[in-house]
Symmetry: C2
Subunit: 378 residues, 2 copies
């Protein structure tokens, strides 16, 4: 098996799992956050910086790399790791999410999805077989099955049809996957907010014996308590001895709440995207560094942070760079936000080890301001 | 004296000087190229990267920092070195060049220059005293006198008036400079292509005993042979025991030809600016990495280069990033171009040490393609 999961311990206070995922490019500790490198680069960052901040696995996007530069070029380069000079683990999504989020003119058939290239407008077709072909060429450690990710809210009837099609597509993915010895394929459990459909999807997919499972279709606009409720009835349906990945989730509160509900892996563009707008995550909440009040503030972004940005640069300098649209400013904010989440996951793992993740959650939420009535989240 | 020059040796083949400039923030070897960090950042680069590529001194811009974030903020931060986290030497220009190159509505008077802010349109006034005040607040190791930089070509009459005014302004700069103990002020010799005016300007300025001298008003559109001729009659007018700085020059051939004519310091936005357009300097000439022919070219940018970019990344990957407008692509191209020029200067210094800079020039020009009839320069 290309991917194996090692359970180290379960938090007595919350049930959260401390573990390790072993991949052909090293192991990573869980719960873990994966920075997103859409186009074979985590925007503004170098591989050395990702390593220095503690990233052990990054995510890249099948759909985007298929269009630019093309999976054949990456295969010819020796695969994604070599192409982008990243020797840690890589997970690629299946392109399914982008087909549904970036393309208007899509048509879903049993065979696959017809849609238009979001850059050129050209007609394209993606199917389970095509998604496997591309990911086999890209060569990530972890591949994702091609699924449909319906919007929130969706009718029960629509969702049921979609879940059943996603299960049929999952079987075709397993069939089409050419490199199971060195690439682990994860199945994606869908079903929206419907417990019966999540149950049906989990039953279908676990019967197929993927080396890992994801929960898809969350963080698509539903309230946080809906997400938490879905996790509560879905993670118990997933095998204990395999990694569990909650797709597209990256706000600090959701990383903690997801871990508490048994999730091992997370990814999200949130930290990198808001960084490029000058918004920072700090131990005391959101900081919008463009604000005039930081013009002469020579303190670090987060006085409780020991990242490279916070050890060497002031709010005043970063504000100046961001306002002048200087690249180095976005490097500093991106580094800080990613470090913040990776460090949060380190703290979560430490708290699991010490059976106090519930206490940690309370302390973190209090300091971050999530407990305040009008708390600004992301 | 804040700035001293140590002459190590003179090339027996060419007369080029090998030396060292000692500043309050360490020493740098000459001839040296200075990367330009207009807004307190060398675009896309970190201070660590600048250090790693061998930069020992960088240049920053008085005019730009005066407008954004304001010299008072940088002074309050503890000066430019601390503000931007760069512990090597820094030189700032006087703002004179930007006033003349960026502003249309300028009015030159004996007192100074009235002009408009190139961003907001606001009316501004810059004078020798103001330029000194700003540079004293910014705190670079080397400051530049406030001068007029006339366009090329300029009438002899206009140039003579300008040179004389620049000399009067230089006296006022010396008078207004408040930190001569820890900031060295360089005078700027003007006079365009006119030998008599360069002579007059050099005589005026050397009589004032600045710790270093620059040649201004070149690389403003004149042919290369005009630049070389002006250098030939101007550098002999400059004191042997002080550094000589040729402002705004950074093409590889001009760095070699300037060194041969006795220049110690150079700066230019060329390597960083063209990098952000995907154009690279290589030992075999210009390489435009956007070109389709590099889509599957997995060789480094320059097969003779040992820089971080060339040791780790392919033309195909960099082309992909540049075409997708990904920041990391511009980091890689910028790093390479700056390394290329800093490494060229290392080779120039080595050739001076071995009395073979003339031979080195021939070899370099041959390989680079400068000797070909239709050679593409920058």
């Amino acid at each position: 098996m290309a991917i194996t999961y090692e359970l180290i311990k379960t938090c007595k206070q919350t049930g959260a799992r401390l573990g390790k995922v072993h991949t052909p490019h090293g192991s990573f500790e869980t719960p873990m956050f994966m920075p997103v490198g859409t186009l074979a680069t985590v925007k503004t960052m170098s591989p050395e910086e990702l390593e220095r901040m503690g990233a052990q696995i990054i995510l890249s996007n099948t759909y985007h790399l298929w269009l630019r530069p093309g999976e054949d070029i990456i295969e010819e380069a020796g695969g994604l790791h070599k192409f982008m000079n990243w020797n840690g683990s890589i997970l690629t999504d299946s392109g399914g999410f982008q087909v549904f989020s970036l393309s208007d003119l899509r048509k879903i058939e049993e065979e696959g999805v017809h849609f238009r290239n979001h850059i050129s407008g050209e007609k394209l077709f993606l199917s389970p077989e095509k998604a496997m072909h591309i990911q086999n060429a890209l060569g990530p450690d972890i591949m994702m099955a091609f699924d449909e990710c319906p919007p929130y809210p969706a009718e029960h009837k629509y969702m049921k049809d979609s879940v059943e099609r996603t299960s049929r597509w999952a079987e075709r993915c397993l069939e089409a996957h050419k490199r199971p010895h060195d690439q682990g394929l994860f199945g994606i459990i869908q079903g929206g907010e419907y417990e019966d459909l999540r149950r049906q999807s989990a039953r279908d997919l676990t019967s197929m014996d993927f080396p890992g499972y994801a929960i898809g279709g969350l963080s698509v606009g539903e309230p946080k308590d809906v997400m938490n409720r879905v996790l509560e009835f879905t993670t118990p349906l997933m095998p204990d001895q395999k990694p569990r990945y909650l797709m597209g989730v990256g706000s600090p509160d959701s990383l903690i709440d997801g871990s508490i509900r048994g999730i091992d892996m997370f990814d999200c563009v949130l930290p990198t995207r808001i960084a490029r707008n000058g918004t920072l995550m700090t131990s005391e909440g959101r900081l919008v560094v463009r604000n005039a009040k930081f013009a002469r503030d020579f303190r670090p972004i987060d006085e409780n942070c020991d990242c490279h940005t916070c050890r060497n640069y002031s709010r005043a300098y970063i504000r100046h760079l961001v306002k002048a649209n200087e690249t180095f400013g976005f490097r500093l904010t991106t580094y800080h936000n990613l470090y913040f989440l990776l460090n949060l996951m380190r703290q979560v793992r430490e708290a699991i080890r010490e059976d106090r993740l519930g206490d940690f959650r309370e302390e973190f939420f209090e300091m971050y301001g999530f407990n305040k009535p009008n708390a600004k989240n992301f």
